[in-house]
């Protein structure tokens, strides 16, 4: 485990794994997780080992406030998240262009980084994710508003309901999410983030891969993504919702790996595929 001190009390937990046995590194991939209940573990125990075995230098980190990173009270806008990613890569001396992969909000961060630094981005994969638009900010405002209302302010009731109707695991993750929402400005900051214009979105000319669960609302974004981006391909994985990364990691990881390795056909990873 590596703790990277970015100053001002912000310390990010990062994990970096690469090919073993002296195999050469062919590319660097930076994997960014989603909001509230997510952490780098969603990659560490799914696609990351297979990526490393394929010759990729894999960088994963916990966003501020998440996982084992510190939880500052403020600084949760999208631009803050992109600043954190920039600072982390500088500290890790990752200077060359990278393949960015983001799940949910992590994809929005990855895309924002690509728009800011086209020269440092080789490709972007958005898993259940989208670029930052006014519609995105409005949607996040609704979701985070509900989290604040139901979890952060009526936590006992919400946790009791989740424990009874979902699982203890989900309830525990929800407690962490409630703490993050209550003790930081995240729920206010994210909807107030600066969003991208359509021209800024279209300026991302590197290959973009969109991966969506067939039963997720976000799957409807696929045609728009392909129309607005110069080099975009989307994949819809049937029978899955927003958790497609962890539930179908073999399929999702295979599509990402074929993009990074530049192969035409998807590579099938050994790994979890719930269906």
């Amino acid at each position: 485990m590596a703790i990277v001190d970015l100053g001002g009390g912000l310390r990010l937990h990062a994990q970096r794994i690469g090919p073993r046995g002296g195999r050469p590194v062919t590319a660097t991939a930076v994997l960014v997780h989603g909001l509230l209940t997510d952490s780098l573990a969603s990659y560490y125990f799914t696609v990351a080992p297979a990526f490393a075995a394929s010759g990729i230098d894999v960088v994963m980190y916990d966003l501020r406030g998440h996982g084992r990173s510190t939880r500052p009270a403020t600084g949760y806008t999208l631009d803050d998240s992109i600043d954190d990613l920039e600072a982390l890569l500088d500290r890790l001396e990752v200077t060359g262009p990278v393949h960015l992969v983001g799940n949910s909000y992590g994809g929005t961060v990855a895309f924002g980084y690509a728009a800011r630094h086209p020269e440092r981005t080789t490709s972007v994969t958005l898993i259940e994710s989208e670029p930052a638009t006014a519609a995105w900010a409005g949607k996040l405002d609704g979701i985070l508003g509900r989290v604040m209302h139901e979890l952060a302010h009526n936590e006992a009731d919400a946790i009791a309901w989740i424990t009874a109707n979902r699982s203890q695991n989900t309830a525990r993750l929800a407690k962490g999410a409630a703490r993050l929402a209550r003790e930081t400005t995240l729920a206010q900051d994210i909807p107030a983030s600066r969003v991208l214009t359509e021209a800024e979105i279209s300026s991302v000319r590197c290959p973009v891969l969109g991966v969506y669960g067939g039963d997720s609302d976000l799957a409807g974004l696929a045609p728009w993504m392909e129309s607005v981006l110069p080099d975009c391909r989307t994949v819809v994985v049937p029978g899955h919702e927003h958790s497609v990364l962890v539930e179908a990691s073999g399929t999702v990881g295979g599509h990402i790996l074929s993009l990074i390795l530049g192969s035409a056909a998807p590579v099938q990873l050994a790994g979890a595929d719930a269906r």
Partner: protein, 109 residues
């Protein structure tokens, strides 16, 4: 024969009991962070339901396993080969068996 980091090597492959003791010590370190210092660890203890460890805690456990056993044990690869529900149901015993088997395999090669 003893390696640089003090582990027994050669014919002294660690058995199930010794590995369970190692992993119990690692879990005590992790649980201590949550103020839990008196939890009994057995072969049938589950990481998720009994110990209430989150997946990010298992990343920390992976680091502790690597410190102890080096690259002879790869916890991330072990879990990456499992389905999501299997990870939720994972027991200490299954990890112990995996570690013992991995140590034996590197011993043999």
């Amino acid at each position: 024969m003893t390696s640089l980091n003090g582990h027994r090597t050669g014919t002294g492959v660690e058995g199930q009991e010794a590995v369970l003791a190692d992993i119990t010590a690692m879990l005590a370190t992790l649980l201590d962070e949550y103020g839990l210092d008196d939890v009994e660890i057995r072969m049938d203890t589950t990481f998720n339901r009994d110990l209430e460890l989150e997946s990010i805690d298992l990343v920390a456990l992976a680091g502790l396993l690597e410190e102890k056993y080096g690259n002879r044990v790869n916890f991330a690869e072990f879990l990456a080969g499992m389905e999501f529900d299997e990870i939720i149901e994972l027991t200490v015993g299954r990890l112990v068996e995996h570690v013992v088997a991995s140590l034996k395999a590197t011993e043999a090669s």
